[in-house]
Symmetry: C2
Subunit: 141 residues, 2 copies
């Protein structure tokens, strides 16, 4: 049986808090590899690994944070969303404490308050994903 | 770059209604291929196809119904959930009218009211998925 499906990736919307539970912002990265630009931290899911484990691992690898998954935001699977090849991204809203530090595929880390996120600099469909998160967040408040 | 990720599939929880908007039940299939047993209708996502398009296509192919997606239920990615290989399933709650008719990978179709679903006959992790749907449904009412 020959099966060919899109690649599966995970991305994290990491809500960063300080030790007093004050919300500091969302973590974005500057990508080290093409497509260049800013993005949510994330990466491919390994065979033998759940999507939840993958997002925890990728956040540790790229932004050096131990994240707690809050919930699934959505699944983004438009064939055009990744300019390299077809990738389905499973996006989780996460919570973390501490200072992000760029590593692996991330060149640099940034912390942005929601209304300061530079949407025009986001690669892939990450502006759409962040937009969905922000709308969804407003609906819940 | 060599990337290896799990396969991506979609499954549908199809809520069937009659023309008077009376809920008739959930559609299950008897599988034609291994693993044998009952399951939610579903299948693999093609490269170049979104998950939403895939679930609409698969429901048409397997149970001969035109479904409308209501919302995403969840993403199921436990590496052990599929006995054949690692498959990530993106599960959508859908609505349809008419009579399901088995085709393609489905040998037979069944319509079950939620409290009559034979959970013990469901293959993969579909009993867990259906359980999540039923709990979620109760929460919303």
């Amino acid at each position: 049986m020959s099966i060919k499906t899109p690649y599966v990736a995970v991305d994290g919307i990491v809500m960063l808090y300080d030790s007093k539970e004050v919300f500091k912002g969302i973590v974005l990265i500057e990508r080290k590899n093409p497509p260049f630009g800013m993005a949510l931290p994330g990466g491919f899911v390994d065979v033998g690994e759940s999507c939840e484990s993958a997002v925890v691992r990728e956040m540790k690898e790229e932004i050096s944070l131990d994240v707690q998954i809050i919930r699934l935001l959505g699944v983004y699977s438009d064939p055009q969303r990744d300019p390299r090849f077809h990738t389905v991204s499973v996006v989780y809203i996460c919570k973390a404490y501490g200072e992000p530090e760029a590593a692996d595929d991330a060149k640099k880390c940034f912390i942005y308050l929601p209304d300061k996120i530079p949407m025009e600099k986001l690669v892939f469909d990450h502006a759409k994903i962040v937009g969905d998160f922000l709308r969804n967040r407003e609906d819940n408040t």
